[in-house]
Amino acid sequence: MSENNIDRRKFLAAAAAGAGFVAIAPGIRLVEIAAAKPDNEPVTSKVRWGMLIDTTRCQSGCTECVSACGKENGLSEVKKPRTDAQWIRKIDLKELKTGRALSLPMMCQHCANPPCVDVCPTGASFKRADGIVLVDRHICIGCRYCMMACPYKARSFVHEPHTDQNPEVPRGQGCVEGCTLCVHRVDRGGTPACVEACAAAGHNAMLFGDLNDPGSAIAKRVREVKTTQVRADLKLDLGVRYEGI
């Protein structure tokens, strides 16, 4: 790592610490300040991208995150609920014993030990060094075994030909796909579209950042409050965590 880079990291750590302070004070934070890596550098395992979803802030009936995801990734509005791709969906839950109701977005949980990667015959399902789980559509044969293996139903199969792709998000018939954490934005220092939309709608239920950076807002938050990994019994070490389940 170059010297320049170390400086950048220091600066970012300081910036993130500051941002974290701001976040704690009012209990609200806007968009996470993410580290932008230079375009020509590979991602490293020093970073573990993650997301924290506060279900106490998430509104039932609000689908801002879902619409933003569709717009960003060129997914058409869900007209055929059985076959259209849904990278993120809202689930309304009601506890059977108590009747307590809550709402939350569910998407790829970006496991550290992803079952989809284990089962993929060609290695098309893979995990990047920074923890983002992706599908390499160049070698995906469309066998759908990953969809059988995923405990979260996070993957969709592209059932029809498409021509309206976002140039940054190639996708086409016959391959399996899922949430990319908006990797094309994250690589350039941005945040996922859903997180941005949630903040813009004033809910601030989604927090994105580097779980490995102790100074990041998300790392602080998971250190301070009890967070839940869905189906923690499977021990998949999820990148997406929930608060208030």
Partner: protein
Amino acid sequence: MRAIALAVLWGLTFAAAHAAEPGRTPLPAIAIEKPGQCVEAKDVMRRDHMKLLKHQRDKTLHEGIRTKKHSLNECIACHASQKTGTVLGKDGFCQSCHDYAAVKPDCWDCHQPKPGQKTAGARP
């Protein structure tokens, strides 16, 4: 035997003569609308563009390297026809040559052949 050889030779000469005639052999329409240098020399691009693209695609997807030099989106941004807005179509930069060479690229099942539409989160 000699007769056959002669016939073949005659046939070849005939074919060559006709191939030289303009208009008889459909040639690809390679229209470079934007002036300036490509990212590599012309002969390198003609021979190895697929290797460059493949190398870049793996670097981008697996390592998050998003340099512009050999990026498919940059190719499209430069080479899309100003009339049709795409690299496909009969005289499209990619398609006309690939039709001529009878090589079907797999890119367009997933990739957008039209440039533009930058996403909100992308750096300019």
